[in-house]
Symmetry: C2
Subunit: 408 residues, 2 copies
């Protein structure tokens, strides 16, 4: 049997663990020298591949340099937000497969979220249609944890650990003065509240901050919120509240859009400052207390400081498992995680039909949110706690900062 080449790409928003999955794919592929010749990377995903930007991992990251991927956030290969056409009759498909043939590609890996799985779905269906034997697999990643048919996704654990530890630190900061204060922390997640729920892990004892947690899975009522904050001040001097960026009222209007009419910049554009900023102003005005808001922003998905060891290892594992599956002839699948036990935590890798995954979104089960919609339950915590375990000691360079690897 003549050898073929493997190619991997990354797509969608970066995470702290997406390069660990890439490491898993590349390092495993490099072991199978009898079957796999070159291991290539698409620079800037399928869009970059169409433009001919490809690298060879043995040249780009020879020997031990490859390992640095496991603690480097971002997306080493660069990313894209390119959606393949719905119709498999589109000329882009034969163009792509001609390129695959020119490069003698036998295995294609795409690391990403829903949209990336959509790419895997379309390419694998087209391959089947034309009788191509290229094996096409998806590696999951998203901090949003919103992919179905998998217990969780690589990237979520590190983002959750970042959120939990940062909320704990902000709570320490918020509680230094003996003066009533409200702190609103805005956390990523438009439709799924997994990451915001992880803020509950920050509590050091029962009754600790954050006292209120609002997910986008339930409707947000501004007046009820104010009553809750007011009530929280009866027992606490400093109240920390965590909210998803995507909280909305019962009509579906995002809270961050509430005062967009008033807030326009000098150019007449809406100044959407986020729901945290809105609630900060609301609390200050209506409750007469000191208030501030903190938007955790992109560090949630790109901080290596709070990498979860579990997340990192599972990212690598998913990559390795994927290559083994591809060599066994699997295609049109996403590598998924099946939890076997919460405590001690254990999971195993499985394969799931990518066509199902790319069209659905997994939100937090309503049973895992308290009835009044202002907190998550113990079930949520039991689910999330194992995923943030393990510290990764990121190597530090002579400059005193994390020694990340980057494309030259």
């Amino acid at each position: 049997m003549s050898k073929k080449n493997l190619i991997a790409g990354q797509s969608g928003g970066p995470t702290a663990a997406i390069n660990s999955s890439l490491y898993g794919v590349v390092s495993e592929a490099l072991k199978h020298t009898e079957e796999i010749d070159h291991v290539y990377g698409m620079v800037n995903g399928i869009e970059g591949f169409l433009n001919g930007t490809v690298l060879d991992f043995q040249e780009a990251l020879p020997g031990e340099q490859l390992r640095a991927l496991t603690w480097t956030p971002g997306a080493y290969l660069g990313s894209c937000r390119y959606k393949l056409p719905e119709s498999l009759e589109d000329p882009v498909y034969p163009k792509l497969f001609r390129k695959f043939e020119e490069m003698n590609i036998g295995w294609f890996f795409y690391i990403g979220g829903n949209d990336s799985m959509d790419t895997v779905s379309k390419l694998s269906r087209y391959a089947e249609k034309i009788g191509s034997d290229i094996r096409i697999l998806g590696e999951p990643k998203t901090i949003d944890n919103d992919l179905v048919n998998t217990d969780h996704t690589p990237g979520f654990g590190s983002a959750a650990r970042y959120v939990a530890s940062t909320v704990r630190e902000i709570t320490l900061d918020a509680c230094v003065y003996e003066k009533k204060s409200a702190t609103i922390i805005e956390i990523m997640g438009r439709h799924a509240g997994w990451l915001t729920g992880a803020a509950a892990l920050a509590r050091k004892y029962v009754g600790d901050n954050p006292l209120l947690i609002y997910l986008p899975e339930t409707d947000f009522d501004v007046e009820e919120f104010l009553q809750k904050v007011h009530a929280a001040f009866e027992k606490n001097c400093n109240v920390v509240v965590c909210v998803s960026e995507g909280i909305h009222d019962k009509d579906g209007t995002f809270i961050c859009e509430y005062d967009s009419a008033a807030g326009t910049d000098a150019f007449g554009h809406k100044m959407l400052a986020g729901c945290g900023k809105y609630l900060e102003n609301l609390v200050r005005s209506r409750l007469g207390v000191k208030a501030r808001s903190v938007e955790l922003n992109v560090s949630q998905r790109c901080s290596a400081a709070m990498l979860s060891g579990t997340d990192q290892q599972e990212g690598i594992l998913a990559g390795e498992f994927g290559v083994q599956a591809a060599l066994n002839g699997e295609t049109g699948k996403m590598i998924a995680f099946k939890r076997q036990s919460d405590s001690p935590y254990s999971m195993k890798c499985t394969l799931e039909d990518v066509n199902v995954i790319c069209n659905e979104e997994k939100t937090v089960p309503v049973e895992w949110i308290t009835e009044d919609g202002s907190d998550v339950t113990e079930d949520f915590i039991r689910y999330a706690r194992p995923l943030i375990q393990g510290t990764v000691n990121v190597p530090v360079g002579e400059d005193g900062l994390p020694a990340f690897v980057y494309r030259k």
Copy 2:
């Protein structure tokens, strides 16, 4: 000689290293059992002390528990923003010194910035006036690094390391797409640009992001800024810009106030969303590129994830040195750092007159800012680099998160 008690307090905004200074004071004091009986802490600074809230460190943090202060951000003792009256004839002074006498206080330590040094100044002058032999010393802390007569202050190194590593991570995140984008990072510092300048440490190679850095020491011109960003796009696809929250135009108007007229919330209050948000909108509108802004916010002063080992050790050292100085009879002084060498870095502790320090503010020298005002020079980097060296491995608890210590 009969034994006396030592009391320490914290004041002003928290930092990642303020508890290291407290640890230095308390651990050193506990060694001098022939002279020092109890080591007390004022809860919520001088204001809390006036209300009688005091703890005994041997009860609160016995044995090895004390050590946890060195990796716990915030302010273990709580803080206050209480300014003592200018007139030493005010009745609060005899009241305070009566309390000192009741508690048999022989040594008083206050850890904080300019305002805290003002407290040390007033108390030591009052002590002299009434012939009290209580020794009153100040321990410096501020992330702003704006105290005079000291090379730098504890708290700055860790905040600078947080800024540099976070800017490096955000840069990785910002550069994944092959599509023009501008990222504006807003960094703390109303009057002094030390922390914003530290963003320059993030560069991995010459010409790396952040491409532009603006400090409040120079006047900011919006049109010049737009020209610079526009020019940066000629060579770079993704442009990262760092700005101090306090950047202002030549008339002294803060940039964050520019569109306050347009941005009012539903209650008619000004929606000051920060200069980063303003510049984000400006760049998007005027240059037609994708733009976003990130406000690093309170994590700059409360993140333990990027504690500088140098900063932590110097905080402890300043605490220890202060106790030794107090036992030698020193009073009305602040512990300061004198740099002896940049490379290899070395410094020693000195004592400086607190009356001078409390009334001045140290900004970044103009010679350390490039002529066009859009970057810092090599001199700045030579100064700042040693202060961010050293990694601190914060112990992790069973919950998977940093094991901080807090007042019960």
